[in-house]
Amino acid sequence: MENLLEFFRKNFKYFLFVVLELVCIVLIYNNMSYPHFKLAKASQVITGPVYTFRHAVVRHFYYAKENEDLAEQNISLLRENSNNFFEESDTVISVFDTTSSKKKRIYDYTFAHVIHNSTYKKYNYIIIDKGQKDGITPDMAVLSSRGVVGAVSNVSENFASVIPLLHADSRLSARLPSINQIGTIVWEEGDPLHSYLVDIPQHLAVNIGDSVLTSGYSNVFPKDILIGTVSEIDNSQTSFLKIQVELATSFNNLNTVYVVKNLYKDELDTLKASFKNE
């Protein structure tokens, strides 16, 4: 007995090695067992916070990619809006074809990133990172995820400049859906948060908080895109109201914008030009 204990003490490290290895083998072999499942659950108490911490740091590296994916998704959602289509429901449809109401797409979208932006000048402008190569042409509408930004003015091969609403010469046809009146959006220097809606007659009741939408008459902007909300009404000056509009787009932190293409622009432009010639 003494000898056995002595032998055991002398070779303790070998026994320990074998026992620990056996524990490992048993753990590996019982891969699908209930204790294994419990072990996995318990170990998450330790590993969970470590993984959470790592994620909190690492996720910042993937924002650019994620932003791009979200912009893609937004475009596919924007394309589905009914204001992009021209319904041909009142044309002659054969009896056999009544189920399919024909829709014609007028507006299509692409996205771009703002690489230069100013808001505190009299003639502000924005530069986006897409140009001729990506199918951008002058007079395309530019939207943000919140509302109207402006219209493309000049296009080079890889870039395009945009005249935002914050430009002393910008004019945009707008509609007040609450009273169904058409007016014009103009901007006065110095305030990047507000524009003015003019040409609404005095006698109409406009409420603070009414939304102001695009009219859709310009063939540049699709119908019913949010421009802003009425924030102040001034009826002291002329026979027209001067309505201050709080802009929906925050121009101070623009990043991704959506450029709207009118697929029938050439056709409409020639039609308009023929009117001028007469």
Partner: protein, 172 residues
């Protein structure tokens, strides 16, 4: 003595954090994944009793297993590594050093070629055990071997580099 304990403890913490936060996410050529935490095991002082070394190896491998959800694999391989360490060292010195007088090889005592060969042997033993235990079969044996060798080369490069960067080399 106290200084040695703190030094080793710090080495374990830093290398394990490096393993969890960086190395577990590195996949060179989509395949090879370094296991640099074995450096902490390779640098355990020989004055420590063998049993304690085994327990530390088991615990270290176990913690790595917790994060990779491969319960037992790294623990078994780490244990094997620490168990084999004195025998490999004695074999490399051709039996001229007795087991009681073994020292942890460091830059300055040995050439970098010697260190690289030693690290390669140790890392390969560990890595091969990990690969085999993970698969737990000998099917696709050559693929397992190939991945193990790639991992080992990667691990060896990192460990030798770390040894030279962080060890105080005495200039003659």
């Amino acid at each position: 003595m106290n200084k040695v304990v703190i030094e080793n403890l710090l080495r374990f913490v830093v290398l394990l954090l490096l393993q969890f936060f960086v190395c577990n996410y590195v996949h060179l050529f989509g395949l090879f994944n370094p296991n640099i935490y074995i450096l902490a095991l390779l640098l355990l002082p020989f004055e420590m009793s063998s049993s304690l070394q085994y327990l530390i190896a088991f615990a270290t491998g176990g913690v790595v297993d917790l994060f990779l959800m491969t319960y037992g694999v790294h623990a078994a391989a780490s244990l094997l590594l620490v168990f084999a360490r004195p025998y490999v060292l004695m074999a490399l010195t051709a039996g001229t050093v007795k087991q009681e007088n073994l020292e942890v090889p460091m830059p300055g005592q040995k050439t970098w070629q010697w260190l690289a060969v030693y690290t390669f042997i140790m890392a390969f033993m560990h890595q091969f055990a990990v690969s085999l235990l993970e698969v737990f079969s000998f099917s696709r044996f050559y693929m397992t071997l190939f991945v193990a060798i790639g991992d080992t080369i990667f691990t060896t490069l990192l460990i030798v580099a770390l040894l030279y960067i962080f060890s105080p080399v005495k200039k003659k």
